[in-house]
Amino acid sequence: MTEPARDIAEERLLAVSGELAEERAAWLARQPRPTVADEVAAIRREVARRRRPAWRRPAAAGLAAAVVVAAAVLLVIVRGPEPLTASVAGGPVHPGDRLVARAEGVALSFDDGSRIALDAGSTARMTALDAHEVRVDVERGSIDVDVVHAEGRTWWIGVGDSSIEVVGTTFRVSVDPAGDAAGVTLTEGAVRVVGPCADPREVHRAPAKFRVGCGPAPNPSSPGAAPSTSATAAPAASSAAPAPAAPPPWRAARSRGDFRAAFELAATEGLDAVVATADAAELLDLALGARLAGSPEAGRLYQGIRDRFAGSDAAAGAAFHLGRAAFDRGAWAEADRWFAVYLAERPGGPLAAEALGRSIECAENLGATDQARAHAVRYLERFPDGPQATRARRLIEGSPVDASPSGGERGTSPPP
């Protein structure tokens, strides 16, 4: 191809490929995306599966499977499982170490992908950690257990005189205040309980809830007695000192990444109290949970962030979300003001393109053509390749812009 021909071709390719890129970006924007918590959970499961030695993974089919399984069995007999190490926040944990989760929860990570998360206020002790056996004794509070099964390795969770034998399982253990019994919520897999008042032949399979230990379930009306909020002082001091405040259940749900459940638990507790005491990151997650639950309380949580953490990144993000909520209900003027608040507080923020793009639509829907054009010019200056670039260009050139949902102002509460 000659040089002029190449120039013409590249010119046309650049122009048409730009349109194709915008089409694909628009398609992508329409695709539902799984929640981050769901995505991470699926990724972690797959990472753990691949980290297992190849001979322990399911083989493809037929003879290959038989050979691999046979090899795996042989390797189990000859080699046993791989050595296992554990860590908390990057620091190694050894047998005998005591784990204390104070204000924040603590995650105990094993290099095979297994995890044990302690709620705030919980304590536990690592009593065994080798290739064949892992044992964690829970002394106080609640833990979430997520164990990756490996042939030749036994996992135990101890509670008082009882032990829970784990078989590739996800479950929660909430120790009673007395520390000798617990409530167990089994969400995946199966476990067996060994100890007084337990039948070792009985296998509990998910989903299931049961108790470990001999004592009756604690009286829910007594302070700190609910399984998931249990906490106790040291035995010597228990008769004299009041038990420390138990962490609210919504914090445990949040630490698991289950924001919707966290919101629902917080709503049960009373959102006013939560808004008054939670930190900004917690409130943002709870607001996200409210949105996932389809609750209008999301607005109250975002407003709480604005009131309590003015000037922070969280407050700016809350302004954007308040604008989006107004936008979704067709309250164009209110939405436009909230987006303006976000852009004023975080002109280079990660949501600036979307805020500015939506401002264009707000102005158009309000019939403020000059303002819409001004937004469009600003948008193109900053985001020439943004998802609203085509709309902005057409608006500036005076061509008809694709119809967008239009309607009158339906919202009333303006931003401060």
């Binding site: 071709a9 046309r12 122009a15 890129a21 398609w27 992508l28 995650a107 923020g349 985001f383 390749d385």
Partner: protein
């Protein structure tokens, strides 16, 4: 002159993409985030997936096109990222690393698709879903370009898509593909020629043939 202007616009698009990425990175440095993920902090894992997710999905759609496999390919990307993260030499280049993994995952998906075409066993879930046609002017050219890209060899297709659909520079394409800039230039030249031959008239390039003759 017009070509020079278009090139400037194209470069500006890439710069805007960089700015957006930098703004995203501004929340916490990639190196700090990398360190927290390697330490096993669940919150950091969630943050990485939340921040890099749009980049990963965008790269996959640019290279593979609209596909029912989008979520699976995005998950595969992150699985590989988490498996290799501890070995990353330059934690500051965390998001570049994620992008190069996404490119590799998309490249393998394209190779699998090509093999299935060869065996005529393409399942419906792998059939690209063409977005609802926009009757607007220029749609024919876009569809012709899409078909021409589909017919490119995988390596040429990846280079072409990253350059033209992703707005990346040749050097960025080279980094993302793990090859030299010279190799990228060769692949781009091959791809451009093939695309023009296959859909020149639809792109309004009849004049090209006249010039050539």
């Amino acid at each position: 002159m017009l070509l020079a202007v278009l090139r400037l616009v194209h470069d500006a698009r890439a710069a805007a993409g960089d700015a957006a990425r930098a703004a995203l990175d501004g929340e916490e440095s990639p190196a700090a985030l990398h360190a927290r993920v390697v330490r096993g902090e669940r919150a950091a894992e969630r943050e990485l997936v939340a921040r890099a997710g749009p980049l990963v999905r965008s790269v996959i759609v640019q290279l593979v096109g609209p596909s029912a496999d989008l979520d699976d390919l995005a998950q595969e990307t992150f699985v590989r990222v988490f498996l290799k993260l501890a070995d990353l030499d330059e934690p500051a280049a965390l998001f570049g690393f994620v992008r190069s993994v996404a490119v590799n995952v998309a490249r393998e998906a394209l190779r699998r698709r090509r093999r299935r075409w060869w065996w005529r066993l393409l399942p419906s879930s792998d059939t690209p879903e063409i977005p609802t046609p926009d009757p607007g002017e220029g749609r024919d050219a876009v569809m012709a370009l899409e078909r021409a890209i589909d017919e490119l060899e995988v390596e040429e297709r990846v280079a072409f898509s990253l350059r033209y659909l992703g707005g990346m520079t040749n050097a960025e394409v080279a980094t993302a593909m793990g090859v030299s800039t010279g190799t990228v230039k060769r692949r781009l030249a091959t791809a451009e020629t093939a695309v023009v031959r296959r859909c020149g008239p639809a792109l309004g390039l009849a004049r090209v043939e006249e010039v050539e003759s």
